[in-house]
């Protein structure tokens, strides 16, 4: 599981659904959650939260990704690789934090990721969890 500390910068609500924008340094992550500021007290402008997402949900790509329909696209750098027969785990540096992506070794090979290489990561807004930093009653 990847965990990134973030700060909520903008909230837009529609009924019980909330579109959250949260900043990790200069990168703005977009996350969609069920709930609104009335029943989820941590949904508040400026509050510190954590973004959680599964390694297997991280999509990696080379190039700019302009024509891919995913709002969360960030540049990152390959730190190291853990090579398995079935899977390859790629460790990446993103905004000063280390995250990892788990992908099939086949695609890892065909893309031949190199340590130090710059990549683009893609995350769907509905794959990211929010977690309140200090304990708040839900």
């Amino acid at each position: 599981m990847n965990i990134l500390p973030a700060t909520i910068s903008q909230l837009s609500m529609n009924g019980n659904l909330t579109w959250v924008r949260a900043a990790v340094r200069d990168f703005i992550f977009q996350v969609i959650v069920i709930g609104n500021p009335e029943n989820k007290l941590y949904l508040k402008d400026g509050s510190s939260i954590e973004l959680l997402f599964n390694e297997a949900e991280v999509i990696l790509g080379k190039g700019s990704g302009e024509n891919i329909c995913i709002p969360n696209q960030f540049p990152c750098k390959v730190l190291s690789l853990a090579q398995g027969t079935m899977f390859t785990q790629v460790f990446l540096e993103l905004a000063g934090h280390t995250i990892s992506a788990l992908l099939p070794s086949d695609s890892g090979e065909s893309f031949s990721f190199q340590v130090g290489e710059s990549l683009q990561i893609y995350l769907r807004p509905n794959d990211i969890f929010l977690q309140a930093v200090e304990k708040v009653q839900s």
Binding site: V33, Y42, M86, Q89, S100, D127, I128, F129, Q131, S138
Partner: protein
């Protein structure tokens, strides 16, 4: 309201420790003492019943002081109106089911015994000796006997741990019914999370040497997480495959499998885990 504070030196696998607890339990609620084994749950229950004496403590139940070691007040066990259900049921082997229940009554009231036998489905078994009953049946007798005594407080020491799923569920329903119908404040010692979720309105978490009033059972776990699909499970098995680990978990009574990267840290059988998914991700089909 039950006000209970106690200090008691205890021995556990990891050595000696002093259990210190200060809790208050609202009247009429069904609450749980939750925690790993060896954290003093059963001892606390026994201290409430008067079966174990704390090193020092204070216990007040519905306005009556049962224990005040500062004033050297200690009500003997047989003067505390509690119904205690032991882990091994502790039925009297020399008495039949009916006699076990009759024995618990202050004044013999055949009619009440009859009602209890009916409520717990023990009518056909009433003339049997406990040794001829199944675990679930013995458990029902133990509950009926504890209630026949008309307790102000029902204390249940892991009453369901030895029973199969089906019996467990039906006795859980009976426990809820007892609490609702008779309004008896009930304390349930349990380390089964799903049981606590199903039955209890409040949880006291035993964390080694302190006891924390967690409020609603949901607060026991990480409710800070936004995922809408959350389960608490227990690790059955953790197998490394390639650079990932496959965890076999049991959620409720359903086994599930989850894949985590091997870098994620260690999981051992018996570990409690939270399984979460975003509400958008699971696929769902009507059965």
């Amino acid at each position: 309201m039950i006000e209970f504070s106690a200090r008691k030196k205890l021995l556990s696998n990891s050595g000696e420790f002093t259990l210190s607890l200060d809790i208050s339990i609202p009247e009429g609620e069904l609450v749980a003492f939750f925690g790993a084994s060896g954290t003093g749950k059963t001892t606390s229950l026994r201290m409430i019943a008067g079966l174990t004496t704390p090193d020092c403590g204070y216990l007040q139940v519905n306005g009556n002081v049962w224990l005040d070691s500062a004033k050297k007040v200690q009500l003997p066990v047989n003067q505390r109106p509690v119904g205690f259900v032991f882990q091994n049921y502790a039925l009297f082997p020399n008495m039949t089911v009916r006699e076990n229940i009759l024995f618990a009554q202050k004044e013999k009231k055949e009619k009440e015994v009859q009602t209890l036998l009916e409520v717990f489905g023990l009518e056909v078994l009433q003339h049997r000796k406990p040794s001829l009953l199944s675990g679930g049946q013995q458990q029902r007798v133990a509950l009926a006997r504890a209630i026949a005594r008309k307790p102000q407080l029902l204390l249940l020491d892991e009453p369901l741990s030895a029973l199969d799923m089906e019996t467990r569920t039906s006795i859980q329903n009976e426990l809820r019914m007892i609490n609702r119908e008779w309004g008896i404040t009930t304390i349930l010692v349990s380390h089964d999370i799903s049981e606590i979720f199903r039955l209890c309105s409040r949880v006291y978490s035993f964390n080694g040497n302190t006891v924390e009033d967690k409020g609603a059972p949901a607060n026991l776990f990480n409710s800070r997480l936004s995922g809408k699909v959350q389960f608490v499970g227990e690790v059955l098995e953790c197998v490394q495959e390639d650079i990932v680990r496959i965890l076999t978990l049991v959620v409720g009574n359903t086994p599930v499998k989850v894949v985590v990267p091997a870098t994620e840290g260690d999981y051992a059988p018996g570990d409690k885990v939270l399984i979460a998914s975003k509400a958008f991700n699971p696929i769902i089909r009507k059965l």
